[in-house]
Amino acid sequence: MAKYGLRTIAVLYLFFLLVLPVGLIIWRTFGDGLGPFVEALTSASAVHAFQVTLTVALWAVAANTVFGVGTAVLLVRHRFPGKRLLNALIDLPMAVSPVVVGLALILVYGRFAPVGGLLESWGVQVIFSTPGMVLATVFVALPLVVRAVVPVLEELGDDQEQAAHTLGASRLQAFIRITLPGIRWALAYGVVLCLARSLGEYGAVAVVSGRLVDQTQTLTLFVEERFQNFDQPAAFAAATALALIAVITLLLTKLLRPKG
């Protein structure tokens, strides 16, 4: 009996927490058929928000992939002073609220801050613009690639790399031909996670973007703004689109995981 009791509690818990809200969004989205859904998502603002989201996410994923692989190699294959500190710092974005990240970035890169002012004089606007949103997204998704790659790199060991060296391969050649293929599934897993996090980021981006409609509005900001303006069909349609993307990435990670 206890078994069924626990199951019932678990199912009810998930139902009210997850199934009901998400189900209702989908219900509301498609309540009037596919027409309004397509219409809401093809409006100029929605398409623009899609574009902004994609641009920011792709830059952030690219930056985090390069940084993530580099840092993972550094952490696993090298010994240097400050390694433990670096290791701890990597996880910091997980602990800090995204809003704080956004505010901190404004403090450094805002128009009236030293660094931001300097960049501004060179014609680069960071805050209330794409670079700032990329920075914020990079920050919040920082640990994902590193943490996916590190254990696999550790398990892989450095025997194969050393063998490649004795066969005449330079460091770069050994990395490209031996290390990278060895971590490819873990790297793909980390990249997909990073992409999902980047597409769904709200807090940090909300602060640094200034939420300028049709300029710095990402899909998550679009959902919020439409909802506040009582345009529920558009809000629900965009939310459903985001949920669909999340489901796809989830499926991708499930596909990638066993091989990692």
């Binding site: 025997d159 194969q160 050393q162 063998a163 490649a164 060296h165 004795t166 066969l167 005449g168 391969a169 330079s170 050649q173 031909r177 031996i178 293929p181 060895g182």
Partner: protein, 321 residues
Amino acid sequence: MAIEVRDVNKSFGTTPVLRDVSIDVESGSLTALLGPSGGGKSTLLRVIAGLEQPDTGTVRISGVDATRLAPQRRNVGFVFQHYAAFKHLTVFRNVAFGLEIRKRPKDEIRKRVMELLELVHLEQMADRYPSQLSGGQRQRMALARALAVEPEVLLLDEPFGALDAQVRKELRTWLRRLHDEVHVTTVFVTHDQEEAIEVADTIVVLADGEVEQVGSPAEVYDNPANPFVMRFLGPVTEIGGSLVRPHDIEISTEPVEGGTSATVSRVVRLGFEVRVELQVEGRDAWVQVTRGFADQLALTSGDVVSVRPAPGARSLVLATV
């Protein structure tokens, strides 16, 4: 000389691993670095390959000072205990790796790789992945891979250590034959004295980071430099304050000149040989005799016998503590 190591010192942290190690390896020879675990033999091999940097001392390969040379510039072949197979590449691509790095023409690579795979009896396995091979096959693949770049020296780090006893014996014999065919200067690390004696031309005994003795298998076995080498190279027993090989002891039921009186405590028949366990002056000792000889003496426990080192047998007098 193919390899000259001079006064090499190496420490990991505060632990010294190699202490003033100097060895010469002759061109075309097959040399074993023999010693107990933690004796520094693998580290010495890695220093020669450039995978570790010595703290002091020099390494010359074919007359060239290689001490500060990166491993990829030393032209050495290295075979790892756990194969270090490139898991994502086929057997063919594994062996071809060094040639691909050197940007050799495709036809030449194909020809050379197939030759080598034939040499190591893996020509049927060219399209398999390492995970589809047995341990012995993987190690033969690793050997072919190391030989592909025509190294000046071939270094093997406990090459058969991860294999089961039967395969290990086969590969040992095979390595010896391969060396007789290929003649590349080879150094291999082992902690198995039988393996070293069977395969090598020259044995370097290393313990606690120091070279204890260098010589042919017969030399180190028959004329050990010290009790450590004697104990490490084969069975020993103690009679009358000397270390003696158990098969170098004469045993007789009559008192003999220079003999020591002993009491038989047990007679163990091990197939073709018989192990006679004795009490000599209150200490345990044992003698190895043939079955025929044992039958002739008809020893049983409790018998009093006389034992002495066989004439011409090498024994080491132990310092009395």
